[in-house]
Symmetry: C2
């Protein structure tokens, strides 16, 4: 059977999701736990290859197994073998045709900015600290220009390798709760670093360096240098993936 | 002049506030930073000696200095010398008679319980994970019995050394936001482990093991064994101190 896992992690101590020669990754820890549980080498296939320092409440991966263990019990068995900063939130059986990366879905990310006079130690790992006051209404106005289907080439890192840079953002909502500004973006897929570049650009809007009305020009430029900087990884949290 | 600091810290990596032979403490880091800044050995006097693992958004301490640096700039200078998990939020000059522990004040603490099916890695350091569903309405009902002036001997650890165990709780509010239950307690002072024992007792109430109406009996018993267990330190955050 094919098993789908929903995985939450604090990305602070990992070199991102994807296996690589240097540094420990989330995928590696999952492969180890799944392989140990079923007594043979198993590699999970992940939905979203989050960068080093990025957190997740619900990334998705899957693997095949011939176990008789009920799929929904696998989460508990894996959590016994995982470190405390990676916790499987759900396990279930899915059709053998399911592929976490190719299946049609909507992904939601949240970028958090701590906007206050002093750093707050208890929020240092999951928010990006920004000292100067940010105008949330302007950020909201700018965010609306990003919604819909656009060529997001200006919002993708140069090492982008995908065929098309056209994506659809279903919603891009900016809200403030006390001193944390959250940018929550839902879309059918994201280019490399796209959410962090959106966040970096909206921070420039909030600071008054870019006007909300300039967003359409930035999109039209189809040039990475037209947008704002890539905001730091640790402010980003993948919220979840909804398969359609 | 006497300088008052308001200090936030993530208590995860410290052996509590107070200087001691084993382990690094918050007070020690502050003493080092203040002494280095002013070029002579200075020891701060803290308001609340939080336990190992307890966090703070606004603990208070003070020290004397003959510097000409404006008091409100001292916070910035100290933050240059402090680790990233300790950040001074405010510095100001206070009368020489001010003593952070003896001055009349109201302290507010918040105890957070993560009440859901699976652990959430991003909240593992500032919430206490509790799997079984908790009834917040019962917890609220029980909390109301704790408000007011009472002998809190049942809610103090055995090694309590203070003369009287009578304290006044101005408010004890229980609220739920998604899967986090917060117990926010404001009072004129707290006995050793008092907030953590209140939290441990309210968890028992939420789980149905203690009835809200039993709280007056527990108070009347004046016996530590009548109350619930001491909830773990890492769920506790000192919110702040208001001097009256």
């Amino acid at each position: 059977m094919r098993v789908r896992l929903t995985v939450a992690y604090d990305g602070t101590n990992y070199n991102g999701w994807q296996m690589q020669p240097n540094g420990v990754t989330v995928e590696e820890k999952l492969n180890e736990a799944v392989s140990a549980l079923f007594g043979r080498k198993i590699q999970v296939i992940g939905a979203s290859r989050t960068d080093a320092g990025v957190h997740s409440l619900g990334n998705v991966c899957c693997f095949d197994t011939d176990t008789r263990m009920p799929a929904e019990k696998i989460s508990y068995a894996l959590n016994q073998r995982l470190p405390e900063d990676i916790v499987v939130q759900d396990s279930c059986a899915v059709p053998d045709s399911f592929h976490p990366r190719y299946a049609k879905c909507r992904k939601t990310y949240e970028y958090r900015i701590l906007n206050r006079r002093f750093r707050m130690p208890t929020r240092r790992l999951d928010t990006y600290f920004y000292y100067y006051p940010l105008d949330v209404e302007r950020m909201q106005e700018a965010a609306r220009f990003l919604e819909g289907e656009h060529d997001f080439r200006s919002f993708a890192s140069a090492h982008m390798q995908t065929k098309t840079s056209v994506r659809t953002i279903c919603s891009c909502l900016v809200s403030r709760q006390e001193d944390v500004i959250a940018i929550r973006v839902t879309g059918d897929g994201f280019l490399y670093n796209m959410v962090r570049i959106i966040a970096g650009t909206l921070v420039k809007v909030g600071a008054g360096e870019i006007l909300p009305g300039q967003i359409p020009e930035i999109l039209a430029a189809a040039d990475r240098s037209a947008a704002g900087p890539t905001a730091p990884a640790h402010g980003l949290t993948m919220i979840g993936i909804e398969y359609l």
